[in-house]
């Protein structure tokens, strides 16, 4: 029991929580990887029928990739804020500061992951659509962009929260 308590005490620091936040934000990449993968499977199917659709399918496949970028963005901003990169060493954070930073990473970490999977499915459907009607690619993109809206909002929430935290 003592060992556990000591471990918890030494881990539960502000710096640890802040880095945990950066890690959670970057996890949005999981969603993007799954989403891009789903879209890629559909793209390969359509391209097998008609190789000239490669470019169009690729455009749609790229769309669910942005959540991973948003996650990286927040992770980077957190690391920058706590002085892990670009600064002169990591700041000493209180547990509360660390917890706040961790919280600010949750919107993009969670919404980003799940929305990227949903967007991947939408993009895959869009790719199926260009298999039959290549001229309608813009509509497929807009359907996928409808999903992305919520990732954008989550990014915004994360960013504003993080930006508001004073260290």
């Amino acid at each position: 029991m003592d060992v556990l308590t000591t471990a918890a005490e030494s881990l539960l620091t502000g710096n640890f929580m802040a880095l945990l936040g950066a890690a959670v934000a970057a996890l949005a990449g999981i969603g993007s990887a799954i989403g891009v993968g789903i879209a890629g499977e559909a793209a390969a199917g359509v391209t097998a029928e008609d190789p000239s659709k490669f470019g169009q399918a690729l455009l749609l496949q790229a769309l669910p990739g942005t959540q991973g970028i948003y996650g990286l963005l927040i992770a980077f901003l957190i690391m920058n804020k706590v002085g892990l990169i670009g600064g002169s060493g990591m700041l000493e954070l209180t547990l509360l500061q660390g917890a706040l930073i961790f919280t600010s990473a949750l919107p993009i970490g969670i919404t980003g992951t799940l929305s990227a999977v949903a967007q991947g499915k939408t993009a895959a459907a869009g790719i199926m659509m260009i298999g039959k009607r290549p001229e309608e690619i813009a509509k497929g993109m807009v359907y996928a962009a409808m999903v992305e809206t919520y990732a954008v909002l989550a990014l915004l929430a994360s960013f504003l929260m993080l930006n508001g935290i004073t260290l």
């Binding site: 963005l73 809206t149 909002l153």
Partner: protein, 662 residues
């Protein structure tokens, strides 16, 4: 800047002038000829006229066209000319075009030659395939020396076959020896899948052997040779393959010799397309013994030219404005600056002919939003450079040209916002100067840095969004007024304007010192008046009790307007994404410090990171600018469903024929 006014052409002419007239109409290219199926089901018409025969003539050209297409594909495949990145139509003078086609006989001879070569090549490939299969089935038996003549003698039989590699071959031989009397089996070859086994046995023992082999999972195969040993057969097949290879080389060589006729073939291709179209359009003609009837749409701006053309022929024609119940095709006409943005309209859907073309209204917001989302001066310059280069290098037409022009304008605005927000490849200049030169140089920021003051940009984004939405509502109101329903405009747009603007004044006027002190109070009463107006009028199309409740429920639409405005926060979020990801790459590049490795690292981070960031964010900006137009803007007023104007014209693939001015 709107939808081109269309007029309807009705034309009756003499059959003997039909072909000449069709040709001239095609060259002018301003009339979209209508289908006549509806007329034919009308008895008064069908008694007098019948459909012109288009089938026979167009089928002939279609076959020839297919041949030319195949010939061109063949040259494309084996000729060594590089394929251009973007396919374009070369401009050519009418005279030059006709001169080149003067030797049609020779061109057709080349087509015939190529068709023959293509057929021979297909045969060779087929033979090659067959020989390859034979070779594959002989290869495992390479060492097998019993000639085919001895496979069946008076008293003996020799069988070849396979058992799966999973079975033990020694077991196989032992069991076979036990079950039969005089057999001699031998494993010739074993690969990862099968044992190849040859069995010699007495003819009289056939049944016993067969039963034993069945139990052992033996699969008999027939070697593809009639006489001699496998080695000889294999040598023969190898020889055949070598022959086929040589033959293929020769055929491909002959095709390459003909590659110089590619330009003429392309000319001929286009000529055939025109001939076929001239023949096929007759499907839409109604004829009697000596006259024909046709009708269609043309844009009013082309009326003079069309009349001049028709007056040179013996024919009777009438032109008329479209009736309200007719649906003419839609041609968009916009000024030089707005025209490229037609691409965005077309990607959504053509407007209804009686609706409104919003291109001119969203062109500026589109470029503005795109610029805010990409918001990097360097990326703007890059986008302008790329599009400018593509435009210089290729002759573009149609949608492609519009998109390229549009991205050029978007690049201009990206540059603009990049300067406002002080971003040039993100913070590249700051990072490079402080890392390598030890002194910090900042790229000038004309307005503010969004990473430091995100709230300012967020509110600015909402303000732009609100203006965009108010503009869309205004267009809806304009359409109501134009259609003679000014009250609808007041009820559906005016009251909402009062409510929204009133609310803004009520809540926000205090923050703007320039406004008079009474503004919030004025706003309050304006909002109340608007609300009352909406409650009283919004349910006017309903029946019964919902006439009253409808007014209240439509107030709920305020949440719709709210979420529409909030949607514009993507302007900030995507702008931040570009900027921050840029600085991620710059920071990564600076990790090596002011050393040689550091410089190399910087170059690597720059040349991988920035192209990637540029590509993914330009795509994002394009998609999200489109979304803001399609969902937030078009949603308020746009009536889609028109059909694009597709005139009967020279629909060529390789050349654009320029008319000499007379």
């Amino acid at each position: 800047m709107a939808i081109a006014k269309m007029k309807k052409l009705t034309l009756i002419g003499l059959s003997r002038e039909k072909e000449a007239l069709i040709k001239e109409l095609m060259r002018l290219g301003v009339v979209q000829i209508s289908e006549q199926d509806a007329r034919l089901s009308d008895e008064r018409w069908s008694e007098v006229v019948k459909k012109d025969d288009a089938e026979t003539a167009s089928a002939k050209w279609e076959t020839e066209l297919e041949r030319v297409d195949n010939a061109l594909k063949l040259i494309d495949r084996f000729g060594d000319s590089k394929k251009p990145l973007i396919s374009e139509r070369k401009a050519i003078q009418t005279q030059e075009f006709e001169d080149a086609l003067g030797k049609e006989y020779e061109i057709r001879r080349d087509v015939l030659k190529l068709t023959r070569l293509s057929r021979k090549l297909a045969h060779a490939l087929l033979a090659e395939n067959r020989a390859n299969i034979a070779r594959m089935s002989l290869l495992p038996w390479k060492e097998y020396d019993i000639p085919a003549e001895q496979f069946a003698t008076k008293a003996t039989r020799v069988w070849q076959g396979v058992v799966p590699a999973g079975n033990d071959s020694a077991d196989f031989l032992r069991i076979l020896a036990e079950k039969t009397q005089y057999t001699d089996a031998e494993v010739v070859y074993t690969d990862s899948e099968q044992h190849y086994i040859s069995i010699l046995f007495l003819a009289e023992e056939l049944d016993t052997v067969q039963a034993a082999l069945r139990d052992l999972g033996f699969n008999r195969i027939a070697l593809p040779m009639a006489e001699g040993a496998v080695g000889e057969a294999l040598a023969e097949v190898e020889q055949e393959l070598a022959d086929i290879d040589a033959q293929k080389e020769e055929l491909i060589g002959k095709i390459r010799e003909l590659k110089d006729c590619e330009p003429t073939l392309k000319l001929y291709h286009d000529e055939l397309v025109m001939r076929r179209d001239c023949a096929a359009i007759r499907d839409k003609f109604l004829v009697t013994d000596s006259t024909f009837y046709v009708d269609g749409w043309f844009p009013r701006i082309a009326e003079d030219k069309l009349k001049a053309l028709l007056s040179r022929h013996t024919c009777h024609f009438e032109t008329a404005d479209p009736q309200q119940d007719e649906q003419p095709p839609v041609l968009l006409l916009n000024g030089k600056l707005a025209e490229p943005f037609e691409a965005v309209t077309k990607l959504y859907s053509f407007p209804d002919y009686w609706g409104i073309d919003a291109t001119a209204f969203f062109a500026l917001p589109y470029a503005l939003f795109f610029g805010m989302m990409l918001s990097d001066a360097a990326y703007g310059l890059l986008l302008m450079g790329i599009t400018y280069f593509v435009k210089k290098k290729f002759t573009l037409e149609g949608m492609m040209k519009q998109l390229i022009d549009m991205f050029f304008f978007c690049g201009v605005f990206t540059l603009f916002w990049g300067l406002m927000f002080g971003s040039f490849f993100g913070d590249l200049i700051t990072v490079v100067s402080s890392t390598f030169f030890g002194r910090t140089v900042n790229f000038p920021t004309l307005w503010f840095n969004p990473v430091e003051e995100p709230m300012t940009l967020l509110i600015f984004s909402y303000a732009l969004g609100l203006l965009h939405i108010l503009l869309a509502m205004g267009l809806g109101g304009y359409m109501s007024i134009r259609d003679g329903q000014p009250l609808d405009a007041l009820f559906d747009v005016g009251f909402w304007y009062m409510l929204i603007i009133g609310l803004l004044l009520f809540m926000g006027a205090g923050m703007v010192p320039a406004l008079p002190a009474g503004a919030p109070l004025f706003g309050k009463w304006m909002a109340i008046a608007g609300t009352l107006g909406i409650i009283c009028t919004a349910g006017r199309h309903n029946k019964g009790i919902t006439r009253i409740t409808g007014g209240f429920t439509s107030l709920y639409d305020i949440t719709g307007y709210l979420s529409d405005v909030l949607s514009y926060s993507r302007l900030l979020a995507l702008g931040l994404a570009t900027g921050v990801i840029s600085s991620v790459f710059n920071t990564l590049g600076a990790l090596g410090g002011p050393t040689l490795t550091g410089v190399i690292l910087m170059i690597i981070a720059f040349s991988i990171g920035h192209p990637y960031n540029f590509a993914i964010n330009a795509l994002g900006s394009f998609v999200h600018s489109c979304r803001l137009q399609y969902v937030e803007f078009f949603g308020k007023f746009y009536q889609s469903g028109g059909v694009g104007f597709a005139p009967f014209c020279e629909n060529t693939k390789y050349f654009k024929i320029i008319k000499e001015e007379q």
